[in-house]
Symmetry: D3
Subunit: 245 residues, 6 copies
């Protein structure tokens, strides 16, 4: 007989979407590994092979992404939409992503923000995932009939760069200070060796997380941007605010 | 024998500030009773006797406030600042409120929002409490030396009217749907009989809470506005978002 | 000899656009019936048969929309764009809608808001109507030459859900408190029986309107969001503000 | 026998507040004369003699204000608060202004905006009038008992300079194109001869009004900023939007 | 021997994009001529012949644009995207524009703003140029391999109408008061004779620039909206702020 | 013989205001030393001795401030307003600060931001300096007659903490990457030894500056927030934007 658990033993899966092989890791990899280490399953859906980037072949970048996802405790799949630097928020793509949501049935979905002034694929994908999370609930879309409708619990946007942080949405901070979490996140970013060596991406993300950590009174923290107003059963669920200074 | 609790047995106290005898009840009474029923202590600090209002004598309103606080499971004290319709956000008042925070040592503080287009006392008090929560941490203020410095965990603003909801802050929703919670909240509002009969205040608050509840997929919910970015240890703490429509 | 009228006898027609058969009714049906009862003609342009929804066949939903429009005193037409859950803001669609505006020559146009976090068809249609209202004025678009250019007086956005209310636009409230207006509006929403029974849509709209009404000191009111700055000949046209609390 | 009027014969009075003798004229004089020419009475309350300005003695400036108010069809009174460049938004001042509102019982109130980056007296007065309009309704303020409570219909903010236009409030445009209106407004501004000759204030205001007029498709228009959401009985009251370009 | 110059002798080229033959001139022509008179080369990329407009044939408008560009000291090219009133922000177009940026290698890029409530082609082009400026830096896009990657220094948005000024971006003012600058700009606008005679476009732009000039304490100034945070080596580069009133 | 300089030999002085002895150094010390090393004089006006802080006596903190100012190449004076944790934005204080501005006659003024959610003294001082910069221009204030009116060129706000960065103002970045600049700034912060050892203030500021630097493609950069729209004579003055990612 299965004993009554204090915490749910199987938190609902997490699905993260990235436009390029390294977006999820750079934007919110620390959150993912924080969750997988707590027992939540995580799956990455990557929508190009990064073939428009300056460095790295598609094959090389695929291998980097697979290694990196493994370091974070996540699985990864690649899907074909319009290709790198060519993504458009077409309704057909939203239906494709909705189909993935129905099959994976996540509780938490992570996507790049919809801020316009960033890599255009990021903003397009952010809107596509937002739309997909809605379409996954509707019963009458023919392409989606293979799986029953599914309503996610949360859509959080992540920001690959500071410029991509959405001014109009609330922000929350997730504490990723545990040494094994920061370590695995750093390793996962460095696994994208073709990208990490240029432009200081790894330092950028660790600096952002350290600044958030200083504000929150912890080591490192990553900002997420909830698409929807957060609902709580009581104030007890709200551990603390960033009131350090 | 009391079994070992899953939740911490003594959540940090809650202190709520109101400019007038009925502000706390109308603005966030449902949240207060939700917390006291879960074992959190609550204390109200009321900064006038409502002597500028159209209806109700100071004595009558004091009695209403005491009855109402009791229905919510809270204690209440009255302090003298500048009087009803005369409150100014003077630094000396902030120090006075900081002294109360040091003595009461709450985890959670509730205050009216700082939105300018509402009863002027509300906005002044919101700023005073925000400042007081900071001053309570500083070691060198002579008037505060009777109690050691204290850092609160959360300052949440409440909005007595829809107009007082701050556009520039994130909002969260607290589920107050349990029948005993809605019932006690309604009774507490009606206990302010001198105010509740005019202008439809009770219906206003219940309508606001029902609309929030419909959005959140619950019966009733009350919006609070965190002064600071919320920090979470994991996504597991975030039960759900308002994604009903 | 025709006597000089006090009010214009024939207010310019109203045209409302909806992405799905029930959007107009749920989003602003009370405003429509308020206007048709004052002698303004109203016409609905519906851009899908709701074929992606969980409940209701296209034929059933068409019948519901026709019944509902009749209850509001409006006519309704259905047009084919991309289909339910597939609408994209293509320039060709904007030209199609501009052609309808030229033929109907409305003074007032109603459209769903462009807020991104709602059913994706709503946001796409909001942008399409905004663009169409501009294109209808330009003389050189070949597809539009069958009718002379037309400039509308007003484009108002409506919000099907609270989440769709645009934060960046002004809002105005239209008093729909007359019993026959609220009654006809409620009946029109209930005429969408396939949709109204689930998720509390009718209660959602009436609760929103009651909350607006409480703020405005009337029974019920519906919020609209003007696309353009409002111009008045004198302050006499501005009957009152929502100053109830 | 007096014929039945089409418009109400006695529109509710207008009261405009200014921190300095020329603020009302420069900020919204065209609106005032538009209203007085339509039969509405207007009264100016000026809260200093401009004694901190570079040019003009208090006596001279008082005379200029009286002449200018007359050109706009308004009466004017001067009150003593803290003096020019010294105004603070003290609750006692709000009660003083509330007393004036109770005696004058206006329908429409005009005040400088609360934007912080302008002459500090303007922002302070804007907040004072906003508070006073609320206090005027409350029955229990001893200083106000000489007159019965009064609820105004509208509080509109005006902006003496472009920098003072509040970004967070809706704006409306009032058409002041009639030649006699523009003429009287210009004459009233020029009547403040001690101020008008420096820094191009008259040209500034006429340029602002012409730009608003071009946007609205009229000659000149002045922007006002309603403190509260506007409520309308029907769309017929909304003559048109600024859709010229 | 070439002497050490005080100013760089060859400022990086400027490239301005317009959706229609007259957009650049009306939106920011004064800035362009200010720059070309200081020795900077300027090139216009116009994305339609204005064939949807009420007045002017494509041939006529092409001739007007060529004459006007010459008056501003700029060269002009026309490219075919989707046609007037039909422009969509397709990724393929962004790649096309990125190719132009790589060939022209500008330091400064000007584009219409992305504000949604304006001619739809303007908003689409604003987004396309923003995306193109990013894609021009990426090494792996096959269509772009003919020229090496290029990073621009600045993307500034211009606003063809006041409605197109983006509320969410900072604004800067460029002083265009020199008589020969205002004169050339006015002549360039009037060179679009087919458009300038209707609706007061020339007066609109000069009134906007005069109002900006009054605020800045100069004759005329044009507002630009930087896409990115401005970086300065020292405060000495910041000549002054608009502090006139 | 001193050679003829390319840059103006005497840039207008800089005056920075701080509420506490270390605010200027922590908030914008790197900018100050960047300017003094380029030949601009700098003067600090500190409005308390930090007597409410947890650590450090007034005498100790005065000495720290004097040492720190010296490391930045600035002079420092202390003025008495209301005392630490007691500052109120009284008009009399604004006049006092205006008197200092008239005597010092700076081109550039630095002040803490007016954001409400920070140490209350900071927000009060930000408003006081904003008002003082205006009052310094007016000819009729008796207390100011000892010095002729003075108009500053720029008021920039600095943010002592990330929370104090004003969301509603544009931001600019000043490059402070030169090793001697970062070094002197770090030394100046560390000179406030009583404050620097707790809560990680020095790391906070260097992390903020490094993050800004990464965004701008330089080593370190400090954000300032201009109170007024920036005016430029040409685009040549705008060296570059933060377009690194």
């Amino acid at each position: 007989m299965k004993p009554t658990p204090i915490c749910p033993p199987d938190p609902a899966p997490l699905v993260a979407f990235g436009a390029h092989p390294d977006d999820i890791e750079f934007g919110c990899g620390g959150v993912v590994v924080r969750e997988t280490r707590a027992g939540r399953s995580a799956h990455f859906v990557v929508c190009s092979r990064g073939e428009a980037a300056t460095h790295g072949t598609p094959a090389h970048r695929t291998a980097e992404a697979e290694k990196s996802a493994g370091l974070l405790g996540a699985t990864v799949e690649f899907i074909e939409l319009d290709g790198d630097a060519r993504l458009a928020a077409r309704p057909a793509h939203a239906i494709t992503l909705a189909g993935i949501l129905r099959r994976r049935r996540p509780g938490v979905v992570l996507a790049p923000s919809r801020v316009e002034n960033q890599h255009p694929d990021h903003a397009q994908l952010g809107q596509l995932v937002c739309d997909a999370a809605r379409l996954a609930r509707y019963g009458g879309v023919p392409e989606l009939r293979a799986s029953p409708p599914h309503a996610i619990a949360h859509l959080f946007f992540y920001a690959v760069t500071p410029e991509a942080e959405p001014a109009g949405l609330a922000r929350i901070l997730i504490d990723v200070s545990a040494p094994e979490v920061v370590g695995a996140w750093t390793a996962a970013m460095e696994a994208h060796a073709s990208q990490a060596l240029t432009r200081g991406y790894v330092e950028l993300q660790l600096t952002r997380a350290r600044l958030n950590g200083l504000r929150a009174g912890v080591g490192h923290a990553i900002a997420l941007f909830p698409n929807d107003t957060l609902v709580f059963d009581s104030l007890e669920q709200l551990s603390r605010g960033a009131r350090q200074f």
